[in-house]
Symmetry: C2
Subunit: 188 residues, 2 copies
DNA sequence: TGGGTCATGTAACCTGTTACATGATTAG
DNA sequence: CTAATCATGTAACAGGTTACATGACCCA
């Protein structure tokens, strides 16, 4: 329902190609939205058909021509209306298969879980560090540029989330250790 | 991809109806998975056709007959294999439209945002308190029942997540206040 | 008498995933 | 020499959402 508005939002910041939109969702915006490449191209077609965006083609040699998409007034209108709704219930549609696997782990021997948690921790450390670096690099601009405040708020959401995930994963390793200790004692 | 395994997991804990499965996803399991009612019934049919679960119908008066589903050995096998993979990348497919609205809020006057944040905070406080109560009520059983450890780990994930969301939302209100203050000064 | 719970299901549509297809350029 | 990057797109399928349909029972 909102890939549409994600694309409109990106194009409202500046014209760009489908390739670049896709890259953004999978790198700098990965803590708020993600999308499949094929989905981005499909959605761009739909938005152009509805008259919310336009494209101009740039000839290239040795690779496919670039299609640079720009937002139209109707698209900006649609974007603004969507933003102003500020619904949050939608953000609670949690689907976390990793936690669900753990929840049902009484049916497993659980021997793979610690390895998975270590990988989870490493991965989240990397994600968190990336955001910490980005925040440090641009934080001084927040005082001058008003749009940077919203940027700051967003990346801090990513930081809070990744930090919470890290804290949980570390605690979980401890809990598993403690519990393993107790079980061993019981079996003696 | 994993509603299937969510249903198998629930049925592995005990036989139940589609109605009850749906209720679980939308109440006690809401911090790890959610599903649409129509989706649950569709998936139950698919699982029965594949021979992973069976059902027995119980006659009722005044309301539709109950279909009680039970897991079969093949279903339990499938569940166990799925659990043991412990993949976590899937849990990183974040789609948070509320944060995305904020990220693009330079195109809005942002006047609705504080109200939305207050609602967000109230909502998450309620969710968090529910988990705190549940944890307090059952925490003493963890030492006796081994499956309760996985339950504990899971609900603590929910707590960490909701707490992080709350902290972020409160900080965001502060940031908006501070920033609003500065803008007013600049306009004097 | 109106809303919530119990209880099933279908249909149409929208969104997301996986895999395929092509091919030059550039950096290590 | 190999992998990544740039750059487009399509097809088939899987999964998710919204709305409709039915109807008794219970509680305030």
């Amino acid at each position: 329902m909102s890939l549409k508005h994600g694309i409109l939002g990106l194009l409202a910041k500046g014209s760009m190609t489908g390739y670049e939109i896709n890259s953004d969702f999978n790198t700098s915006l990965n803590f708020m939205w993600n999308a499949q490449q094929s989905q981005v191209y499909r959605e761009l077609n739909a938005l152009e058909e509805k008259g919310l965006i336009t494209s101009t083609t740039i000839q290239q040699e040795g690779r496919p021509n670039k299609k640079i998409y720009s937002i139209l007034n109707s698209g900006l209108q649609e974007l603004i209306e969507w933003i102003n709704q500020y619904e949050f219930e939608e953000s609670l549609k949690i689907r976390d298969a990793f936690v669900m696997r753990i929840f049902f782990s009484e049916h497993s021997d659980g021997s793979n879980l610690p390895f998975a948690l270590h990988a989870y921790i490493e991965h989240h450390e990397a994600l968190l560090n990336k955001l910490i670096d980005i925040e440090a690099k641009y934080i001084h601009q927040v005082e001058q540029q008003s749009d940077m405040l919203y940027w700051l708020i967003s990346i801090r959401k990513g930081k809070f989330t990744f930090q919470a995930n890290l804290n949980w994963a570390r605690e979980t390793l401890d809990l598993l250790d403690q519990y393993k200790g107790k079980e061993d004692v019981n079996h003696e």
